[in-house]
Amino acid sequence: MSENSILSIGAPGFNVDRLVADLQATADRKMKAGVYADARVARAEKTNLVNLRGSDDFVSFYLTCLREAVFVDISDFEIHERRRFFTPLLVAFKKAIWKILKFYTYRLWSQQNQINGLIITGLEGMEEQTAARLAALEQRLARLEQQASGHGSP
């Protein structure tokens, strides 16, 4: 983001396109650096996906974010109680329930994690394959166009 853009906002002839282009370029750089590879970004984008169909890079970026979200956290966690009365009793009760159910839920969640992992791997594979095919087709098209215009080797 150039400081010049900021300084010229109040000046005549200021072009907001340049400011937006600067800010978008910064976001693009940060995306490439992995700053937004975050499960929360994948969740935030769920309603925006329909608007991003035309973006070449976004699917691979979205899959990177999804990779962060794909595994359900099945590890133990600290159990709290917000109610003021019978707090130790309620915490003990919740811990007991968690321990009893863990035997059943652990199996289900680990299977779900396996499925999620397989799906995301499959999606990433498909995306890589499609991108490679498209790149090859684009190269071939460019070659054919060059030949057709008489500039390339026959």
Binding site: M1, I6, I9, G10, F14, N15, V16, D17, L19, V20, L23, Q24, T26, A27, D28, K30, M31, V35, Y36, D38, R40, V41, R43, A44, E45, K46, T47, N48, N51, L52, S55, F58
Partner: protein, 398 residues
């Protein structure tokens, strides 16, 4: 033969009577200013307030309000299940027969009492201005009196605009009054009608001066806030806005509140709810105060023909942050130099952080917005454009 002077406005709802909507506000304001300019005006609308149910909540009859004679007519009964089935097909881009398209229009909002009134009094009117385009009431009224019909379409790039029957609407009406050049270009892409049959009019905005701290003080808001005003529904992008703000708060650890004014339910993630303030339907003054105190006015909708609230926010010296897919909103940000546009969450986070961290730049953007709206959307400018359109498409001498 001389035509009468009287003009009619036809709109499914009357803005302000418990109803909120850009198209309704636009038509109402054009009518008020036409009446103030000395043209006799009848505003024909329905007794409905909700654009979901179209139930008759208001009494039928004539009421003098805002200097206008407003005629309220009851809506007809609807076959809602079949209407929704067809709407779902249209939404998903499935082929729909023309019979089904007409059924969908007929069972959206329709008032045979209003159409009968128009049939009886059509010759009393020099022009009949109707909008928005996608409602059965506007559609059937326009095609019943095409030579007098001036469509104010408020057109969006949406599946409904691609219905076969819409081609007839745009080709047969006497003229189209668009809100922006981008809306006109979209219409030219979708329908075949001569450019000479259209004018860009839009809506004027009155300047206002408000206390930028009043809204936050009144509601006990101590943290900075961003604002959205208008209808809250998926088509307007409000779920996206809530998801983005929740993620922004979590990732940036900045305490920025999200404030809403307007109507409709807000579908927000539970963790965002304590940081969301819904002021509901507020007065114009309070809305302007809310705008003036906001860090930015957020407009995530991609379906806009004219961003009235965005222009109001500019007038309140607040910069806009809009979705890059809305060509009308981006165009307004570009023309004014007062708003930024985001493609996805990373852009949104980056731009909102930038606005938060650069108060002087934010003020400069806001100032540009204020000057732009005061110059381009002053009522005398819009009134002149409106009168020119009226003279072009409905000259006094037929």
């Amino acid at each position: 033969m001389a035509r009468p002077d009287r003009i009619a406005f036809v709109c499914p709802r009357y803005a302000g009577e418990g109803a909120v909507g850009g198209a309704e506000t636009l038509l109402k304001n054009l009518a008020i200013h036409a009446a103030a300019a000395g043209i006799p005006v009848d505003f024909l609308t329905t007794c409905a307030q909700s654009h979901h149910t179209w139930e008759n909540n208001l009494p039928a009859g004539v009421k003098t309000t805002d200097g206008l004679q407003v005629h309220f007519f009851p809506t007809d009964a609807r076959d809602v299940p079949r209407f929704l089935r067809i709407q779902q097909s249209i939404d998903r881009g499935r082929p729909v027969s023309e019979t089904d398209e007409l059924f969908w229009l007929r069972n959206g909002v329709y008032s045979s009492a209003l159409l009968a009134h128009l049939d009886r009094h059509a010759t009393d009117y020099r022009a009949i201005l109707l909008g928005p385009y996608l409602f059965g009431l506007s559609y059937f009224a326009a095609l019943a009196h095409p030579r007098q019909a001036l469509l104010v379409p408020c057109l969006h790039d949406e599946p409904f605009a691609r219905l076969t029957c819409m081609k007839r609407l745009f080709s047969e009406t006497a003229g189209c009054l668009f809100n922006s050049q981008d809306e006109r270009e979209l219409a030219m892409e979708l329908f075949t009608f001569p450019a000479a049959k259209s004018r860009i009019v839009g809506m004027g905005l009155d300047p206002f001066a408000v206390d930028s701290t009043a809204f936050a003080r009144r509601h006990g808001l101590t943290a900075p806030y961003v604002l959205y005003s208008g209808r809250r529904e998926p088509l307007k992008g409000t779920p996206l806005l809530c998801d983005y703000m929740q993620t922004f708060r979590e990732r940036s650890r900045r305490d920025v509140k999200l404030v809403f004014t307007g109507s409709g339910t807000i579908d927000a993630p539970p963790a965002l709810r304590p940081h969301l303030f819904d002021a509901g339907f507020v007065s114009e003054t309070e809305k302007h105060e809310a705008m003036a105190g906001a860090i930015a006015f957020l407009h995530p909708s991609v379906n806009e023909s004219f961003g009235i609230v965005l222009l109001e926010a500019f007038l309140a010296r607040t910069p806009g942050l809009v979705h890059a897919r809305s060509r009308v909103l981006v165009s307004q940000c570009r023309a004014s130099g007062a708003g930024l546009w985001f493609r996805h969450y990373p852009d949104f986070e980056n731009q909102l952080l930038w606005l938060l961290d650069h108060p002087e730049a934010r003020a400069a953007l806001g100032s540009r917005g204020h000057d732009y709206v005061a110059r381009e959307y002053a009522w005398p400018v819009i009134e002149r454009k409106f009168m020119e359109a009226l003279d072009a498409f409905a000259p006094r001498r037929a």
